[in-house]
């Protein structure tokens, strides 16, 4: 049965009775997952950058076309990376003795790494099963299946979020929301929330995406004026036409939830300042406030989605990427501090995701579509200050890339997601229903939580 077909005024009891059977956890505490999606395909090589002399030299040679340590082409200057060079807390030695530095703009994330609240997942991307270069190149796609349209923006965005190409109707955040619906009592409709545009990540099989603006829920002003009866009658009128009916459902939800959401938000005091002029920070601020309102809203498990666009840096990579990473760093740092202020730092785990990584090779002042990429996991529960997964060689020739430094993922999105899902409260037996390829991988927990 469609949740939406029930109408928002109808209690969720019918659905929840069925879902309750499947829900393995009986949440008494609060936990939230926050997906920070970097639309366009983040350039991994200028986000988590080779820093030790030998590997930096290879990076510079590939990205600048010449030897050296100065900024050139799309290579960052080595000296600019000194302040953000990372030393893993566990003393781990990475591939080829790699030492990484974060991009110079990521000073806040560097502090969180040092303090053990930020982990870095290396070379993660969509995979159906563990895949070698030979298997990638094999013409036998039945034995060696690959995710469809690996280098296409919209499809890889959809696959990252949902495990299916464009047109998928539920994502793994939403499917996690499905098993949490029963824990969220009367406000189950606030289980999966996007503070960005509509995203399949936060749509479940039953859980609906609720969309909120950075300023909170939007009140229809005419409902407070002399036209209120006419407006209410018109915009909530049922129709037998499916498209009209869906318009009505969305408007009804908007109206019905606006009051309780804004009232709950008004009760949250957050002194932590978020950076201004930063689209991502505005979204993360309202997410922090919603998390602060979890007790008032009576919710125990929530999945949030926020995003920042502009990462498709085919050109002007150096200037554009630096601006984007400044926003990312400011927003994520402020958000973490806000969760500390709210006393929920251990209960909120934030992670980045993106369409794909990019090439290591340059196209003169930018990079092209790739596959695997490095991503951040942040929160008080994260075993931070460490790297997870396998560091790729700095190379456009090794067998951990498929040409021009497009990384062949060594950790699957399903493994990355399963690690987050288990922290959230999902039992191993429930994982295949949420991350359908997880059974193809021997390790369903990467270990960062």
């Amino acid at each position: 049965m469609q949740l939406s077909a029930l109408g928002v005024a109808t209690p969720l009891a019918i659905n929840l009775a069925a879902i309750g059977e499947a829900a393995a956890f009986d949440a008494t505490d609060y936990k939230a997952l926050v997906c920070v999606f970097l639309y366009g395909g983040n350039d991994y090589a200028n986000t988590v950058v080779p820093y030790d002399a030998a590997n930096y030299a290879k990076y510079h040679e590939i990205r600048a076309g010449v030897a050296g340590e100065d900024e050139a082409g799309i290579a960052l200057a080595r000296a600019d990376l000194t302040a953000t060079a990372l030393t893993p807390l566990d003393g781990a030695v990475l591939t080829d003795g790699l030492q990484y530095a974060l991009a110079p703009q990521l000073v806040g994330l560097k502090s969180l790494f040092d303090a053990g609240q930020l982990g870095i997942q290396l070379n993660v991307g969509p995979l159906i099963q563990p895949t070698t270069l030979a298997q990638y190149q094999s013409s036998d796609k039945v034995a060696n299946p690959l995710p469809p349209k690996i280098f296409s923006h919209n499809d890889q965005t959809s696959i990252w979020q949902s495990d299916g190409s464009e047109g998928s109707t539920n994502g793994w955040g939403g499917r996690l929301g499905d098993i949490a619906l029963a824990s969220n009592s009367s406000n189950a409709q606030l289980t999966c929330i996007s503070a960005s545009s509509n995203a399949v990540f936060v749509a479940g099989r039953d859980a609906l995406q609720y969309q909120i603006s950075p300023g909170g829920a939007i009140r229809i002003k005419a409902l407070d004026g002399p036209l209120r009866n006419a407006v209410n009658n018109i915009v909530t009128r049922s129709s037998t036409h499916v498209l009209e009916s869906e318009c009505t459902e969305v408007t009804r939800r908007s109206i019905d939830l606006e009051g309780s959401v804004n009232t709950a938000l008004a009760g949250v005091t957050l002194t932590r300042a978020f950076p201004t002029g930063n689209r991502l920070a505005r979204q993360m601020q309202v997410v922090a406030r919603l998390i602060g309102a979890n007790a008032a809203l009576g919710v125990k498990r929530q999945v949030f989605f926020v995003s920042l666009g502009g990462f498709d840096t085919h050109n002007s990579l150096m200037s554009r990427h630096q601006r984007l990473l400044t926003w990312l760093d400011g927003a994520m740092s402020a958000f973490y501090a806000a969760t500390v202020e709210l006393g929920v730092a251990n209960k909120v785990t934030t992670f980045t995701a993106s369409d794909f990584g990019r090439t290591l090779s340059s196209n003169s002042d930018g990079s092209d579509h790739g596959w695997g990429s490095h991503h951040f996991v942040m929160g008080g529960a994260v075993k931070g200050g460490r790297f997870y997964g396998t560091a790729p060689h700095v190379s456009i020739e090794t067998d951990d890339q498929v040409g021009q430094g497009r990384l062949l993922p060594t950790t699957a999105v399903d493994q990355f997601g399963a690690t987050l899902a288990q922290w959230f409260g999902c039992e191993p037996s429930e994982l295949p229903g949420i991350l359908p390829n997880i059974g193809n991988f021997s390790n369903a927990n990467v270990g960062f939580l």
């Binding site: 076309g65 036409h241 908007s254």
Partner: protein, 515 residues
């Protein structure tokens, strides 16, 4: 309404007396109205002064709103808007110099070719300066010995989004399936990498057709004239790839001159079996219905392949095929609960504005980007967030009866709890006050404002083709009666009531879905 933003009395008379084909022919015969670039010039936005209009994006917004809300040739513009949502260039990604002229010149390519041929359109937009900036053909350099590679952005998107799409299609737009019942991919990464070589060597042409460069005291560099935006990009063979191209089974040798290579590559895409059904389905979705039958797609795709006189890609024939198809012209029935499409916010606003007979008090059209969903339309022309448009042709709204039915509803990708409330608030404001210098006159309605049934009937016909239910019409009439308007009421009182009439219709689900 499928063919334009709004309908006039003359349209209604012509359609009922001479029929669709004659009406369409008259539209095709209408000359192109004032271009976007000409309008910008008329407003002095090409002036090179310390005010730096050459860096401002907002004039691009004013330009497109002027184009959509004013001028007689609105079918051409409606088709160009549909094209702009497949062949996307976004003003918000244009930087540095003359963003408003770059977007206007791109828009002018769409209007110039909207009643022309797909192949010429494809070449014109490939070489357009704004497209060059948006998808990086501008300044695209050949491979070199130090590992540099051509930029693949345009090569990928011209295939994925502009011509053939991701999967092999049958003539009716459905996927061809392989022996394992899987869709067959149209191209590989190797095809993209190869095709990218064709699009190397292009750069903005600053000087042809009288382009100039003006030294100024307030900037380090001289300021070029707007020709960089209006001239097609120029080819510089020094920067063109020296490597043979093999894509989609077509070989382009290293000795092939750059212009010939471009023609061969674009021909390969134009003549690909996918291009007709791929384009036909999307244009049907933009104009008529989100879920056309395969037969409807095939009928239009067949016309794309041959207009009846042996010409492939005749866009006039394509529009006629889309708009006069039995599926488009059939009266909606109660049983067909999925026909039609959600009107996109841009079209709603433009339809209201033209129906309300808006006019600018000073000609400036100070209407900015209306993309903010919480306070405005949630969509603005030529302001797509990426090359993937505001919404995707395959978007399925999750957890809806639409999804259960296995159908798509592209426009729902930008519809949610925030945007629906934001739109309602926006229309309440705008129907009464307009935006800045652009105000509704309600000129035709003011004299009959005291006759509420007549007002509601007039609007119902022009905004919804008489598709509102009697219950909704009853609610609207009752709300309007509370204004107590009579023939001697002030025009300001009448204006308020007419704004309310429009507002209530424009927020009704029966209007939001074009059937």
């Amino acid at each position: 309404m499928q063919a334009q933003f709004s309908v006039s009395d003359a349209d209604i008379t012509a359609l009922t007396s001479t029929g669709w084909l004659a009406w369409l022919q008259a539209r095709y015969d209408e000359p192109v109205g004032e271009t976007g670039v000409a309008w910008l010039n008329s407003q002095g936005h090409n002036a090179i002064t310390a005010e730096k209009r050459y860096r401002a994006r907002k004039f691009g917004d004013y330009m497109i709103w002027n184009q959509l809300l004013a001028g007689p040739d609105q079918m051409r513009k409606r088709m160009a808007l549909a094209l702009s949502e497949t062949f996307v260039v976004s003003l918000n990604s244009l930087e540095a110099i003359y963003p408003s002229y770059l977007i206007a010149a791109y828009w002018d390519v769409l209007t110039a070719h909207a009643f022309g041929n797909f192949r010429q359109l494809l070449e014109a937009l490939t070489l357009n300066a704004g497209m060059g900036a948006f998808l990086n053909t501008r300044g695209n350099l050949r491979e070199d010995s130090r590992g540099r590679q051509p930029d693949e952005n345009f090569a990928r998107e011209v295939m994925q989004l502009f011509t053939i799409g991701l999967y092999e299609l049958n003539p009716d737009g459905t996927h061809k399936l392989d022996a394992n019942s899987k869709p067959v991919e149209t191209y590989t990464q190797e095809d993209v990498t190869n095709l990218a070589r064709v699009f190397t060597g292009y750069e903005w042409d600053y000087l042809s057709n009288g382009g100039t460069s003006t030294p100024v005291t307030w900037e380090r560099n001289a300021i070029p004239s707007t020709h960089l935006a209006t001239n097609p990009m120029r080819f510089n063979s020094n920067n063109h790839s020296r490597v043979e191209v093999n894509f989609l089974g077509t070989k382009i040798t290293i000795t092939t001159p750059g212009a010939d290579a471009l023609h061969i590559a674009l021909d390969r895409l134009f003549y690909h079996d996918n291009t007709g059904p791929f384009f036909a389905r999307q244009m049907i979705q933009r104009l008529v219905t989100s879920n056309p039958t395969p037969e409807y797609v095939q009928r239009v795709a067949t016309v794309f392949g041959n207009n009846g006189s042996g010409v492939r890609g005749d866009l006039k024939a394509v529009w006629t095929a889309i708009l006069t198809d039995e599926e488009a012209r059939a009266m909606p029935t109660a049983a067909d609960t999925l026909f039609g499409k959600m009107r996109e916010p841009i079209v709603r606003f433009a339809q209201w504005a033209r129906t309300a007979e808006v006019a600018s008090s000073n000609g400036e059209y100070v209407i900015d980007d209306l993309s903010a969903p919480e306070t405005m339309l949630g969509q603005s022309p030529l302001q797509s967030p990426s090359v993937f448009n505001f919404f995707r042709p395959g978007y399925v709204p999750p957890n809806t009866a639409i999804a259960t039915a296995g159908k798509v509803a592209p426009e729902f990708q930008i519809h949610n709890e925030t945007s629906t409330a934001g739109y309602i608030n926006f229309m309440q404001r705008v129907t009464r006050n307009g935006i800045r210098d652009v105000k509704p006159s309600y000129a035709t309605l003011l004299p009959i404002a005291h006759d509420i049934p007549a007002v509601v009937d007039w609007l119902n016909l022009r905004l919804t083709a008489n598709q509102l239910t009697s219950q909704t019409l009853g609610v609207v009439r009752a709300a309007l009666r509370t204004f107590n308007i009579n023939a001697s009421s002030s025009s300001s009182e009448k204006h308020d009531m007419l704004a309310t009439a429009c507002f209530l219709i424009l927020i009704s689900p029966g209007y939001l879905v074009q059937k």
